[in-house]
Symmetry: C2
Subunit: 241 residues, 2 copies
């Protein structure tokens, strides 16, 4: 898995609209067969969001599968400017950082003993879940880990998602602390109800469970959490203590 | 129903500890038969909490039944100072405001047509619910209105709490906006997980449902919401637009 951070100046449009435009740009660059294939995917093998920092924006693109890396990595890394419809001039890329996460290092995290009991997720961009046709604007242990386990099983180890393990995990952990507010995220003509902020999860179970949660949250920094992670939603940072 | 607001200077102890001490003071003033009776009540006919303001504290005491008013109102109104264990000097009362809410005016609110669709609750002091032995730190329509309907039916109209009406109300409304954070509230030797902040409820149903919700939230300013409303928790303001 690769994460590219493209540092760009602040723009005349907000991070929400910019995220949508950058996703359009991304899709326009890949060959049409691959973009059609992506369109039919249940879970996208990439995520894209824009982070607002003190002195600029960061466009974060993650590529989760070998195929996504082979289709997008080189040309993204070679980008100097990004021409976008509706902007007066192309966006100048100041710098690009690359981070990597291998499946092996994730499995090592899983096999390592960990004494940590509390894990904090910082929801950097608006995050939401969908259940039975409704948007869910309060996070829960079940929605967070169901999203991560589904993304992991579909994209990384091609296994079936283990419902029993999720139920066990929910019983062994709970949200112990949060600081959250709602945020309506614009996607084309609709506004998706979502939340932003911090959640701390306390794990009471065995050490194996803690390591598994740590592994999933490390993965979360690449996969994002919840819905529409390719359109700028669900970008998270896992705050290790 | 009566609400007394006792304006006092800031103290050397925080509002949490002060709330517990003021509750102790309140119980010590009423005759022991009544205080024993209160102790066995499922729902207290009063609430007490301390609000932090720019230039001082406000001790808010509400009296919900005729009996509570007859036992507490006069001597509370006549208070000049409050001697509390552990404080170097008695608390000087600067001013006392009295507000009143009658059952008639609540019923008028219920009978009035209302076009409002959104109602905001400001949780002024840490609020929590208990369900199946667990503390609930995320509010939900069900927990908020179940608490209010139970308090109302037990204290005001001595009716049975209408579970079907609650289910109907939950279907007709949802939390559309929030800004909340957890807060652990000290009660004797334990810390009760709770939340503080703002919640906006959107009502999609008939006008009657809106009026009923408006009535319950007007009542909430006297009853408080959730658990331990006599010990400083669940103090709320209903923000009418």
């Amino acid at each position: 898995m690769k994460k590219l951070k493209l540092f760009i100046p602040k723009q005349e449009i907000n991070t929400n609209i910019l995220s949508l435009k950058l996703h359009g740009f991304l899709m326009a660059q890949v060959d049409s067969d691959y973009s059609k294939k992506l369109h039919h995917n249940e879970t996208n093998p990439y995520s894209s969001y824009v982070q607002n920092t003190f002195d600029g924006y960061i466009w974060v693109v993650t590529l989760l599968t070998y195929e996504a890396i082979s289709k997008c990595y080189s040309w993204l890394l070679a980008l100097k400017t990004i021409p976008l419809d509706g902007l007066t001039s192309p966006i100048l890329i100041k710098n690009i950082d690359v981070e990597e996460l291998t499946q092996e290092s994730l499995l090592e995290t899983f096999q390592e003993e960990t004494s940590e009991q509390q894990f904090t997720i910082n929801f950097l961009t608006p995050t939401s879940f969908k259940s039975q046709g409704e948007y869910i604007i309060f996070p829960s242990i079940r929605f967070i880990f169901q999203s991560l386990m589904q993304k992991y099983s579909r994209l990384i180890d091609n296994s079936d998602f283990d419902e029993e393990l999720l139920t066990y995990l929910c019983r062994q952990s709970r949200i112990s602390k949060y600081d959250l507010k709602t945020h309506y995220y614009q996607v084309h003509s609709s506004k998706v109800p979502a939340f932003r902020g911090r959640v701390t999860i306390k794990v009471v179970g065995a050490s194996t469970m803690k390591s598994y949660i740590k592994m999933l949250l490390t993965f979360a920094e690449y996969s994002g959490i919840g819905i529409k992670t390719s359109l700028g939603m669900g970008g998270v940072r896992f705050e290790q203590r």
